[in-house]
């Protein structure tokens, strides 16, 4: 069963890449994309409740099972949204058929790469997964071939590949640190072994390796000041890609960084990763909060909101301790679900109004009431209003920080309030007033959006006890 799950989440999408690349016609491709994503999700969910397992290549523990479930679930719902979204892009001739075929193949490549990163115990393989996912998203971001899209893709490519190169250098350094104790070859890159014997490694090498990892994977997480690619990539690519970028890829990069952090915390003499992550998280949070007010493009706006939330999550993990880790994990889940849900709505809104500029989107509550409701609920959820799940996770973060350092709490709370103000201001502009500009009826897929919002709402009201236990287990593992 374990083998089926692990191999399934990687090979099912990988095989689909070939089929999707060869399959003519849009309908069949989109349908197959949904079916494959569904099968991948089944393979992912078959891992639920499995015992931990590891060899030199693959690993399975509560931490990555949790992320695989989230990854495959959002991958599936996004594929449903993507089907209607891409259909509209074909009809308006923004994309041609060969590009759609390419798009579907790349979508599954990305899923395979991210799942590979999640299940690999070998740090080299983990790196391969993240790198592949990066390169694939670069191509997806540039798919519209407008000047702005090419500029975004170029910037993403340059910054992404520099980041990923530095992460690779970090991998080499950690191998060197481990080599003396664990011997040469595969064992010296296996994460489980690294963590078990980290106390014997040279602390200076380990610390240096972490710095490279932090800059490398930190670029992919979108931590300020390494975030420059993120808003452009979100704004110029197809919206389903913005949804998986924000909802999944940022999480996978953070997952990689957290694995390294766990190795470092096992060695008492090495650098303490916590404070650095706190500072970077807080910087991203504050910076993105103020940048929210300057945005005129709706997708850029929510991209900055992703930087803000990745900042909060990194901050929580930096603080550490079971409570803060638990809050970080919860917030990671909530942010994934809500932000991808918001991008589903934003995608349809920008199609309905043929623009992404705030100034041209007005009176949505009159022209497209269901989308307006979806957007409003999504924004309330991401702003951390009760009864949605993000309220609970943000509350947990703030209260767990308060115990350790009350001053930081004030900073975080103020940033959250300021971000809320920006959200409310923009939402009011979009929903009310006279509808202006172009406005088309749009065939939208509401199911993925409301499925995400329902889960977030239920999580906010009541978290099942087994789930809480599971999260506690992961939080304890993270230390």
């Amino acid at each position: 069963m374990i083998a089926f799950g692990i191999l399934g989440v990687v090979t099912i999408p990988a095989i689909a890449v070939v089929v999707l690349a060869l399959l003519p016609g849009y309908r069949l491709g989109a349908l197959l994309n949904v079916i494959v994503s569904f099968l991948t999700m089944l393979a992912g969910f078959s891992l639920l409740g499995e015992k931990s397992f590891s060899n030199d290549i693959f690993i399975l523990d509560p931490f990555n099972i949790y992320l695989i479930l989230l990854n495959t679930f959002v991958g599936f719902t996004t594929s449903v949204f993507s089907a209607t979204y891409i259909k509209h892009e074909l009809e308006t001739k923004r994309l041609s058929l060969p590009f759609v075929r390419f798009y579907h193949a790349m979508y599954q490549t990305m899923m395979a790469a991210m799942n590979l990163a999640l299940v690999s115990n070998d740090l080299g393989l983990l790196w391969v997964g993240v790198e592949m996912a990066t390169l694939v998203t670069v191509m997806m971001v540039g798919i519209y071939r407008t000047p702005a899209a090419i500029e975004a893709a170029w910037k993403y490519f340059i910054l992404g590949s520099v980041g990923i190169s530095l992460a690779f250098f970090g991998t080499i350094l950690i191998y060197l640190a481990a080599q003396g104790t664990l011997g040469e070859g595969l064992p010296a890159l296996a994460w489980t072994r690294l963590q078990a014997s980290a106390s014997d490694f040279d602390p200076a090498l380990l610390s240096l390796a972490f710095v490279f990892f932090l800059v490398g994977y930190g670029t992919k997480i979108g931590l300020a000041p390494l975030h420059a690619w993120l808003p452009d990539a979100h704004a110029e690519g197809p919206t389903p890609i913005s949804a998986v970028l924000s909802g999944l890829l940022l999480n996978v990069a953070l997952y990689a960084l957290l694995r390294i952090k766990m190795v470092l915390s096992a060695n008492t003499e090495a650098l303490h990763p916590g404070p650095i992550m706190v500072v970077m998280g807080l910087t991203s949070l504050l910076f993105a909060t103020f940048m929210l007010y300057k945005q005129r493009d709706i997708k850029r706006f929510f991209a900055y909101s992703s930087i803000e939330h990745m900042g909060i999550i990194t901050f929580a993990f930096g603080i550490g301790g079971i409570l803060a880790n638990l809050a970080g994990l919860l917030h990671m889940t909530m942010h994934s679900l809500i932000k991808s849900g918001i991008f589903f709505t934003v995608g349809h809104v920008s199609q309905a109004k043929s623009t992404q500029q705030f100034s041209e989107i007005k009176g949505l509550s009159v022209s497209h009431p269901v989308l307006a409701w979806g957007l409003a609920l999504g924004v309330f959820a991401i702003a951390g209003l009760p009864p949605f799940g993000a309220f609970m996770s943000e509350f947990l973060i703030v209260s767990s920080v308060f115990v350790q350092s009350p001053w930081l709490t004030i900073l975080v709370a103020v940033a959250l309030v300021i971000a809320f103000g920006a959200m409310l201001m923009r939402l009011q502009d979009i929903l009310f007033g006279e509808p202006t500009g172009a406005s088309h009826p749009v065939e939208a897929s509401y199911v993925p959006l409301f499925a995400h919002l329902t889960i977030v709402l239920i999580a906010g009201v009541y978290l099942p006890v087994p789930l809480v236990h599971w999260f506690e287990q992961v939080a304890a593992q993270l230390k």
Binding site: D122, G124, L125, W127, V128, E131, M132, L135, V138, M139, G142, R145, P147, A148, I150, E151, A153, W154, F157, I158, S161, V162, S165, L166, F168, F169, T171, I172, Y175, L176, Q179, G180, E184, G185, L186, A188, L189, D202, A204, L205, L208, D232, R296
Partner: protein, 220 residues
Amino acid sequence: MNDLAPQISYMLASGMVVCSFVLLYQIRLSSMLDVFAFQAVVLACSVAWQAHTQDSPQLYVTATIALVVKGGVIPAFLRRLMIKLKIHREIDPVVGVGLTLLAGVALAALAILVMFPVTAHAATFTRDDLAFALAVILLGLWMMISRRNAISQIIGFMSLENGLVLAATGAKGMPLVVEISVAFSILIALFVFGTFVFRIRERFDTVDVHVLDRFREDRQ
């Protein structure tokens, strides 16, 4: 093992750093490609030498990849691309050669200062390799930042990857899976680069990436 082995690896690794410096002040795109190809050949020699001294035959594969792909195929491809785009005579001026080179020297010094203390316990050739590799990586980064032409940035990035391979092979017994992936990534990178360069040319009639920034300013 006699004393000659580490000295040869030292010489080859430092040869790569020298190539990186030469790259920094090239102004003609075609001569930049020549220097890059030469650096790849030096890299291939260095990797082959490691394969010999570490007695790990799989490294010969990496050496061959470096020689054939980076020393031959990629430069040839880029040259064809440049002729097709009619930019093979184009010049990408280095602004302030003196300052650029000084910054390069500072970066190389930084690499050695960072790497030597932490690798104090490692074997000598690992130490040298890693320090020089980091220097090549940083110089590649510096080239990507200081140049404005898309092709110069590509060459900077590939020279950075050369540094990564040097580092990976210097770490004795690093699993092959990683080396394959590095080679693999370069192929994909080329693919991506190629398409982008083409599209940039298609849209703007130039590969100067500063033109892109203008679009960005208009938009905001």
